[in-house]
């Protein structure tokens, strides 16, 4: 079944770096896993934990949050705040043992098309191996 499983991954990409990185990867015709659905946000710090949680609970098998490298944020500090929020949410999922590895935070700059494709492909591979998200398939939830 695992080989048949096509994961459904949500990617929140910041407008200024990661989204542009994705754009570059696309226009450079790099191979990118199609299982990632991209949602463009203005900054990684715009991502409320609810967005990530509802993705997971409503059917995503993985969630990628991507923003500018530390020091590179278009708004100077957004990604630092995002990192703390992400760390908190991941810790909560860890404490509750709710598959924290389905969350990933990556820094991808506008010039890193190659890094973008590597990050997405590696994450998609990891999620494929992990299988369907139990949170989204559990009728008790």
């Amino acid at each position: 079944m695992d080989t048949e499983f096509k994961p459904n991954i949500v990617g929140f990409l910041c407008n200024w770096c990661s989204y542009a990185g994705a754009d570059l990867a696309g226009s450079s015709k790099m191979e990118i896993e199609p299982s990632l659905s991209v949602i463009r946000v203005m900054c990684s710090s715009r991502i409320n934990s609810n967005l990530v949680l509802s993705s997971l609970l409503w059917g995503a098998d993985g969630v990628l949050v991507a923003g500018c490298h530390p020091g590179d944020c278009h708004y100077e500090r957004g990604n630092y705040y995002a990192r703390r929020r992400f760390a908190l949410l991941k810790k909560i999922l860890e404490v509750l043992d709710l598959e924290p590895d389905r969350l990933q935070l990556s820094w991808i700059s506008a010039s890193e098309g190659k890094r973008y494709s590597e990050v997405v492909n590696t994450f998609a591979e990891h999620i494929s191996q992990a299988g369907p998200n139990s949170l989204a398939h559990n009728p008790k939830v």
């Binding site: 609810n50 949680l53 490298h69 020091g71 990192r83 908190l88 404490v95 043992d97 709710l98």
Partner: protein, 427 residues
Amino acid sequence: MVNGDVKREETPMNSAQDMKNRNSLKGKIVLVDGENRKTIIDLMKQLLEKKCLDAILVPSQVPDTDSYTWLLVQEGSLLDLCDPLPPVMTVQGGKALSSLTKHGEMEANIGALMRPCEIEAVVELHKLKQIDLDHIILFSIDCPGTVPLSDYMRDPQKMAENFKESIKKWGESESLRPICQICDRFSLFPFAPSSPKSSLSQGGADLPASDIHIGLLGGNDEKIFLWPVTQRGKDLLKKLDLSVHDNLEVWESKVEEVREEKLKKRTAFHDEWSTKIKGVDNFAAIFDECINCHNCMEACPVCYCQQCYFDSQLLTLTPEAYLERAQKRGSLRFPLDTLLFHIGRMSHMALSCVSCGACEDACPMSIPVAQVFTAVGDQVQDYFKYVPGREKEESPPLQIFLEDEFGDVETPGDGLETSHGEAKENV
């Protein structure tokens, strides 16, 4: 009266050995006239009479009933209704006080007498800019805990009796709320909170937030201990002609003794709950009976948002979307999004959770909300090296950052070839 001029005389110390070696705190030992309650009320009355305070917010019994509420008292004689330690926590003090300064700061000086967890909530709300503490003088009091609200409503007389008993045994009572039985912050501690602070949080000394603490432990109903924590507190006691040169050693050692017991219980609690909340089946089972009333959120002092995301229309979807979700799971459970609400709320407030238990009291289905949130809250607070409700000037962890931290949550770390290093240098 600015709250920035607060300085503690001793240097902060952490280990138990240091605790023993340091000088004991100085304060005022007041001989009890009749009962603790009356002595505390007299003190408050004097503060009003001598115009040290314009009004004081106190927990009070509603006349001729078994209910308790908060009263903002300006007329001294009404303080007779005050009960500094009511058997129940009806409305969390932080919640009561925050409604007072909703429209900004006041000119009047207001006192507020609260349990330590309520003071901690006040401090969290202050950090979140929901309370202006400039003209508020906080009085905290040693707290044995409270009985569950629902038990009390069922049989007020009996539970009030049980509560009185529990004061004698100081917290060693099955009648108290489970969250109170494991509370290690029932008093103010000069040093050594249960988790150490580190560079992850900002702020100076680890200073309890109350201005004057009223110590009951070790007083045997014969005396109470007044510890002026801040300069404001000292000034107030001076105006009452109370010198603050008494040695508070008796209170301190009793507090430390009880605290050690409580810490043991809290550790045992974590041993038990850390497995109970683990895994989607276990966690979902805890909230099986949740009716989505959101009372826990309403009662929570640190859930301060005017419009909660989980009450908004943002979570309502089209019928097709629900059908799709039902298809994925085989069935879709109503009320919807129970776990999203609880985990989401956790991700918003767990760092500020002061384990006051208001959520659990408010739950009509008797779900152990406070215990779950404490089991998680303690762990994430440890992770962020943050102790909520202590230092007024400290920033909440999600409002600050260090440039180099939490590197382990980033993927890839150092594995993939990147221009990461360059990116940093380009700044």
